[in-house]
Amino acid sequence: MSWQLLLNASFFLYVAATVIYMLYAARLVRRVVTVGYALAVLGCLLELAGIILRWRVGGYVPLSNTYEVLVFFSLCMVAIYLVVERIYKIRAVGAFVMPLALIALGIASLLPEQAREAAPLVPALQSQWLTFHVVTCFIAYAALAVAFAASMMYLLLLKRGKLGTKTDAKYLSSRVLWGVAVGITVSFGLLAWLIKGQLAAILVMFGVAVGGYLLKLLAMRWGNKEESELEALGDLNHKMVTFGVLLLALGIISGAMWANSAWGRYWGWDPKETWSLITWLYYLTVLHLRFAYGVSRTRMAVLCLIGLFLVVFTFVGVNFLLAGLHAYG
């Protein structure tokens, strides 16, 4: 069995899980969501098996090019989500996390054939730091993506349940949500354009727009209009942001130590370094705004939505738009 087959299988399992989670979010099914969870767990295990198989085939830890890290990214998102779902028992967030994992896997499979093949490592990548650096960075990105999903759910729940204060309501105006929707659509379009060209961009933007609208229609039906669920979502968001900040710190530091052993400098203002620092500082600022200034959970949720754009830009945008040492990552 090839690793490719395993990854394809997990892709379809994720599709099925996504559908079930969305139906659950739309309150069309209830108990069946357990099946969705089981499918996601199975998909996650198959994906892990696929990565391990590729490791054995390629002879190196498969975390060294865009394709490999995209696959790993989707694995991290699903794995983190499956764990926190057990803890926080807010299953509807899956309706947002699972599509993100699908998109990551989808973009990975859009990459040209030669970018997907296992290729031996150039000397700079032959380091024991590689695995630690990439793993910490991508767990961080994944945690921040889950924070995005929780924030999205939080805002929808707030709007749907007409909860929260008047100031909260201001952030839920259609303008903000439209802004986020257009932003997401355009950035995915840009990404597809950079990878595959105009046609792919149009298709992806169309897909994201239609999918997003359906998701919104479905998700708006969700919600018990209970403060306790809001509380749990806010708490989940906070936990994911702190976890992401810690892991990103580890990622940046391990990157610095690696750079120091390879090039004799721990910091060189390389675009990737700089953008990861920007992302990190951004989330630190968000945490300070929330806990030192006491801005509302709602504002924090909006800030976490914006934050994902920084994450995505740091991850992929930098590789395609700015020159630097990470062109392979």
């Binding site: 031996p120 702190t242 976890f243 610095a256 120091n260 004799g264 203002w269 675009p271 700089t274 300070h288």
Partner: protein, 445 residues
């Protein structure tokens, strides 16, 4: 002074500086420096190209303005932390001396139970200790806490950041970054400063014994390494084979393998017959000649060698000593006594007009036995241990502030009535904790 300190430590300034730093750093990544200007102008358009090259020219990350922002941030972080540390410690002390339960009315976590008459304080303290709560004050109210370090996690994190920033400055002031290129067998007592090329004394001699490179089947380098020897006078002090990710350190100066290339001046002119057999081989140096039976009475002489060929005011010249575009000019005399000259380029073997007079093919090829030069980065950065220490402190601080919740429990005993009041900097109810402690007090299993 006190006023200034307070202004400097304002959290508003902190947020402002953080956002400013975000924006400036983001702008800096747009910098364009080096590369082909015309290509980039086409790519970005005139206006953006000017903006980007401007950012590249002022070298944003090393500008005084950027340094100013970082310095201000450093003092802001220090002031913010110090201004809050004192009150935090004082309020902890005040908490432990509380005697009036009314002062705790703000805390929502509470539980009132009745216990057996005569339950001793020792028993209460023991139960608290089992739950990990250490007694920190005993008056009318018992006061116990857990995770005290968690309360100070943010200060630890700030200390880490401050240390890293000091380290970065020390490195910038006290260190240097240079480069060195050595041919096999060559030694040097100098390296050259990055950017300016100004020579720097190493204080010892470094010699490249041997350079080796291995390739993958597709031609990409797999591994390259330099065998270095460091000596002073006659004495060899250290020998090490360095490769990418595995440098050599000596007296605070670190040699990193960074590049390699083909050695200059080591080309040969191969003369081949119709069957592509090499019948003569001349070093690509002016004056080297070949003649003889194999050449059928012809005489070939190298008139000039240019490692990096270019035309300068209509005359052949070399742009550098690196063999980027090696070329030779040859003079020849045929057996019939007819003289002529020709150019041979290593990179363009099909170029060159022999006028059909030469019955041979001539190729300018690298002398495989000549070897490579090794490019190394030479760095002295005394700040590395300081920066790494700062990183460890930073991560420790995050652990403390995110994963060590700071909780306090006050216990009020009035006859058989026991009231537990809790405060926590983590979210979630303390109900479970209270229940556990109460069951310990009551001696339930």
């Amino acid at each position: 002074m006190r006023e200034l300190f307070k202004k400097l430590g304002s959290p508003r300034l902190a947020i402002f500086l953080a956002i400013l730093l975000l924006i400036i750093s983001a702008l800096g990544t747009l910098a364009v420096s080096g590369g082909d200007a015309a290509v980039q102008r086409d790519k970005y358009g005139d206006f953006l190209f000017h903006v980007f090259t401007f950012i590249g020219r002022i070298d944003l990350y090393h500008s005084y303005g950027f340094f100013g922002v970082l310095a201000l941030m450093w003092f802001n972080l220090l002031a913010c932390s110090l201004l809050r540390l004192g009150p935090a410690v004082r309020s902890l002390k005040a908490e432990s001396r509380l005697s009036d339960v009314k002062a705790l009315s703000g805390y929502q976590n509470r539980l009132t139970v009745s216990v057996a008459k005569g339950t001793s304080t020792t028993r209460l303290v023991q139960a608290l200790a089992t739950g990990g709560y250490r007694l920190a004050g005993r008056g009318k109210l018992l006061y116990a806490r857990r995770g005290l370090f968690g309360r100070f996690g943010a200060y630890v994190t700030h200390l880490g950041l401050l240390t890293i920033m000091v380290g970065a400055m020390v490195g910038g002031l006290a260190g240097f970054r240079g480069y060195l290129e050595l041919n096999e067998g060559e030694a040097s007592q100098l390296c050259y400063r990055e950017g300016t090329g100004e020579p720097i004394e190493l204080g010892f001699s470094v010699k490249l014994n041997e350079f080796q490179v291995e390739f993958y089947a597709d031609g990409r380098p797999k591994e390259y390494q330099s065998d270095l020897v460091i000596s002073r006078g006659e004495e060899n002090l250290v020998q090490k084979v360095i490769e990418v990710n595995d440098p050599l350190e000596f007296e605070g100066i670190v040699f990193y393998q960074s590049s390699y290339g083909e050695r200059g001046g080591s080309y040969v002119l191969n003369v081949k017959d119709e069957a592509h057999n090499t019948i003569a081989s001349l070093p690509a140096e002016p004056g080297s000649r070949a003649a003889g039976k194999e050449l059928k009475g012809m005489v070939i002489e190298v008139a000039g060698y240019y490692a990096d060929f270019m035309m300068n005011e209509g005359k052949p010249a070399t742009r550098s000593h690196r063999p980027n575009n090696p070329a030779v000019q040859i003079h020849y005399t045929t057996a019939e006594g007819k003289a002529g000259h020709s150019w041979i380029f290593a990179n363009y073997p099909d170029f060159g007009g022999h006028g059909g007079e030469l019955p041979f093919e001539m190729h300018l090829e690298r002398d495989k036995s000549a070897g490579y030069y090794s490019g190394m980065q030479v760095v002295r950065d005394p700040s590395v241990p300081l920066v790494y220490t700062g990183c460890v402190i930073l991560v420790l601080g995050f652990f403390l502030s995110f994963y060590v919740p700071f909780r306090r429990i006050w216990v009020l005993q009035e006859g058989t009535k026991l009231t537990l009041i809790g405060a926590s900097n983590a979210r979630g109810s303390m109900e479970e904790i209270f229940k556990k402690i109460v069951s310990d007090i009551k001696g339930e299993k």
